[in-house]
């Protein structure tokens, strides 16, 4: 039986590129599968909802009702991939709740495949956060995102043991370009005639990485 993937993009640190990863992954899944459900759990950081309002809804884990609204949706094997942009402020509470209610176990039972994309930073907070995840998330479901723009080639060794997904840094002027609310990665691939541009190649490389990630999820479950 096929599984429904749930991608949780997270970090206990702000401004490490969580929303950038969530945006790209959401657009990739929308392009490939025709549908995706994205959830934005952010306060003040750049918001997924602002970039992809058509496929994103806000969520929170502040109170029980918010947790129910979110988690009762995530646990459903409906064939629609889910992407969660988990704001840094909600990292501790989300994974504390997840551990307490047995999310990973229940997900396995219901053929839902959570994949935690931990966006790394070089400080101790990041290392502590990763440690917390290693204790409750199976190794095959935990992926470190090495965002070169943040980590600058110095990914801490402790975060590099398991699976690593590398996100190359863009020049600052291109980063500014893609940070615009109106920018679409898929739109750029479709409309940019010159496929040799740096940005075109960067997007395709990331989409290929996501495709491989999705394939690995399917293979694990089969």
């Amino acid at each position: 039986m096929s599984s429904t993937p749930v991608y949780i993009i997270c970090s206990p640190r702000p401004l490490v590129g969580k929303t950038l990863v969530a945006r790209q992954l959401s657009e990739f899944l929308l392009l490939k599968n025709g549908t995706v459900a994205a959830f934005d759990i952010n306060l003040k950081e750049p918001s997924l909802l602002d970039y992809l309002p058509g496929i994103t809804e806000t969520a929170d884990v502040i109170d029980t009702f918010g947790k129910m609204q979110l988690m009762d949706r995530l646990i459903v094997n409906d064939g629609v991939a889910k992407v969660i942009d988990l704001g840094f402020h909600a990292f501790d509470e989300f994974f504390r709740m997840s551990e307490e209610i047995g999310f990973m176990k229940e997900a396995a039972r219901r053929h839902v495949a959570p994949i935690i994309l931990f966006v790394a930073d070089t400080d101790r907070g990041s290392a502590r956060g990763y440690d917390t995840l290693r204790q409750q998330i199976p190794a095959r479901a935990l992926v470190t995102v090495d965002n070169e723009f943040v980590v600058r080639g110095e990914l801490p060794e402790a975060l590099a043991h398991g699976r690593v997904l590398r996100l190359a840094a863009l020049p600052v002027f291109l980063k500014t370009y893609i940070d615009r609310l109106s920018f679409s990665f898929t739109g750029y691939l479709r409309h940019e005639k010159d496929s040799s541009t740096e940005l075109h190649q960067w997007i395709r490389r990331n989409y290929t990485t996501f495709r491989d990630l999705e394939l690995s999820v399917m293979l694990q479950r089969s």
Binding site: T64, K67, M68, M71, I75, E100, I101, G102, F103, E106
Partner: protein
């Protein structure tokens, strides 16, 4: 053959979670396949009976016919354990009545096992009742239950006060019931099912239900913590039920 056991669950005040504790006990024994019956003394409507109707009778513990219904049938009942959920404020009068009818003597002579779960409230008046209650319980197991239904601390910030109540009675054992998420508790109330059935996502007649996965998770986790306390005090041994049957452990199924 195991001696029959009687468990009294009582409190001097209402609203301290006495019936909640009774429910966790009934689920604990059910999971271990220990035959249990219960008497709900919130006569006439009952409170415990709503959650465990198949094994619970509503009685008036102040009436002699109902006292006979409970205590004259302890040895003849198929149930190994008789749990009595005592109405708030009636624990001391009930213990006096048990003394007067010779029930406490039976416990003294090892003719049955007797345990009292005294559910404490966060007030000095509640704690004052410990000494009074303990006088009746020379030959019974006495459990002081701190039920954290809110953010009370049971005076653990003031060691002198705390010790004067909790460490005064030599053989009394403390039990801690952690706080359950309020919304989870309320959903179980609305569903009117045992905690175990709620965790299993079942309705009152074992039909499939649609309870929130989050709330079921909270109840499962909480019940496991409560049962680990019962395991810690070796409750099944105390009531002569031994290691029980092949039931689920700790609420985690």
């Amino acid at each position: 053959m195991a001696r029959p056991a009687v468990i009294l669950v009582g409190a001097d005040k209402g609203g301290v979670g006495k019936t909640t504790v009774s429910r966790t006990l009934l689920d604990y024994f059910a999971s271990r396949k220990v035959p249990t019956r219960a008497f709900d003394t919130e006569h006439p409507r009952g409170t415990l009976t709503r959650f465990h109707p198949d094994i619970t009778d509503v009685v008036d513990v102040t009436s002699v016919p109902d006292q006979m219904k409970i205590f004259d049938t302890i040895e003849s009942s198929a149930a190994q354990i008789t749990l009595i959920d005592i109405r708030a404020g009636l624990m001391l009068p009930t213990l006096r009545a048990l003394r007067d009818i010779g029930f406490l003597d039976m416990a003294k002579k090892d003719q049955l096992n007797f345990a009292v779960f005294h559910i404490l409230g966060p007030s000095i008046a509640s704690l004052d009742e410990i000494a009074e209650t303990s006088k009746f319980l020379v030959d019974a197991r006495y459990f002081l239950v701190k039920n954290f239904i809110n953010d009370t601390t049971f005076f653990d910030w003031d060691q002198r006060t705390y010790n004067s109540y909790f460490n005064r009675i030599k053989d009394a054992v403390e039990l801690t019931i952690p706080k359950l998420n309020e919304m989870a508790f309320e959903q179980v109330e609305v569903a009117s099912v045992p905690f175990l059935k709620f965790v299993a996502n079942k309705g009152p007649h074992d039909e499939a239900a649609n309870y929130s996965f989050v709330l079921r998770g909270y109840v499962r986790h909480w019940l496991a913590n409560v049962w680990s306390e019962f395991d810690r005090i070796k409750l099944t041994d105390l009531v002569g039920a031994g290691k029980g049957g092949a039931g689920a452990r700790g609420g985690e199924k």
